[in-house]
């Protein structure tokens, strides 16, 4: 077994263990919310999913820049894995938020700035996935995807700050604020447990996906030389 596979397996075991602990913390240790009741427990999954999605999109940005600098398809595969993870977790965040909103807000969906900007962010990365299938040349696909992966990140700060820029129904940041979080310690522990579990699971899924993409690549495509466009000599002759 290679070192990489061992790390992957270790991460998988750690993710399962962390998920078990997070489940116990969220379902047993943390008390029900005084106002929201049991529905509040959904946030122990909703918030970690959103945070890890942000991290995944930041990873897409880093890997895209990495590809443009190194022209190595390994960076492109890392970016693709990050984008797929981010899209999946963003979709999960929206679905869980909707499930929570129905009993608490009384609606499945509302035109709230955080909700709308999150869906727009999801659409950006769906477009990123679409760009990948345009060419049979993996380097051309990677080049395009890298550009879109960098551009799409523009919306991440907009999503994060949307609850501060507008007076929204969605609550402002509870944990990432200057003062200590106004939460019961048991609830805060459950939330951090969820974040750890999701982070480990995200890394595990990302590593596995990168390995699958590498094994699916038919032939190692040669890195393109920085091809110059056709040169026109004086007098218009090539």
């Amino acid at each position: 077994m290679t070192r990489r596979r061992r790390v992957e397996r270790l991460l998988g075991v750690a993710a399962v263990a962390a998920a078990a602990v997070a489940g116990w913390l969220g379902l047993v240790v943390a008390p029900p919310d005084a106002v929201q009741g049991q529905a509040q427990r959904l946030l122990y999954v909703h918030v970690p999913a959103a945070w890890v999605a942000y991290v995944a999109f930041a990873w897409v940005l880093i890997a895209s820049v990495g590809y443009l600098i190194r022209r190595d398809l390994a960076w492109d595969r890392r970016a693709q894995a990050g984008a797929e993870l981010g899209v999946g977790l963003t979709a999960l965040t929206i679905v869980l938020g909707s499930l929570w909103a129905r009993p608490i807000w009384g609606v499945w969906w509302t035109w709230d700035a955080r909700l709308v900007t999150t869906v727009v962010l999801l659409l950006s990365y769906v477009g990123y996935a679409g760009v990948r299938g345009l060419s049979t040349d993996p380097h051309r696909n990677a080049r395009r995807a890298a550009a879109v992966g960098i551009l799409a990140f523009v919306n991440v700060p907009v999503v994060h700050f949307s609850v501060l820029w507008w007076r929204t129904l969605h609550q402002p940041p509870t944990v990432l604020q200057p003062a200590s979080p106004p939460m019961d310690p048991a609830m805060l522990t459950a939330l951090f447990g969820g974040i750890v579990a999701f982070s480990l699971a995200g890394m595990w899924v990302g590593l596995r996906r990168v390995r699958m993409l590498a094994s699916a690549a038919p032939v190692a495509a040669a890195a393109p030389t920085r091809s110059e466009p056709i040169r026109v000599e004086a007098g218009g002759r090539r």
Binding site: S124, L134, V154, N155, V158, V232
Partner: protein, 235 residues
Amino acid sequence: MTASTVTLEASSSATQRRPRRTRQAWMVARRDLAAGVGGRRAAVAVLPLVAAVLLLAGLGFGAHPVVVEATAAPLVWLVVLLSAVPLARTVAADDAADDCWDLLRAVVDPTALLAGKLAAQWLLLTAAWAVASLLTAVSQGVTWPLSSVAGGILGALGLAAVTTMLGALLLSDQGHGSSLLAVLVLPVGLPALLAGGQLAVSGVSPTPWLAVLVAYDTVLLAVAWAVFPVMVEGS
């Protein structure tokens, strides 16, 4: 102006030395504007779209002053975003159709090519915003604050960077790639829609929204400057 004219000017001036970047950028921008406005490609694609969306929105919302007041500013920016999609198609498609894209890449420095294309897109998008604002003001009786002009200019600049990059990016895939433009351009234009819309609302403090647009423009121009040369490589 045709590609051959550009090539001729590029090769003949200063005894076959490349013209300076600013002159190259100016020539590219002039050529794109000539093709877009003089050749009516961009004008035909954008102006009827702007008019149609505003008319249909006016009809759909009905004659309710409260609704019009609340929706006029974002509606203008929605129209500008929608215009950005056909405009992005004109970035390099005209050059490709004239078989002069390779020539342009050969004789024009990539940074100058970006600057020229971006300047043309900026002007066209600003024109789309101005027409949409004017039509909305006339048809809906809306008065725009002065800050909306700054919003129009700054928002169009960031959007121009997006359309220039994506237009060059999807050049050789006019079929499937072209249909992806909407899903790529519209989400990345979100900050322009939000900040531009807020800057056109009377009574809203313009400073934070101008800061958002300046940051948006700075990021997108930096990304365009870094990425565009890679995009035109072998496109």
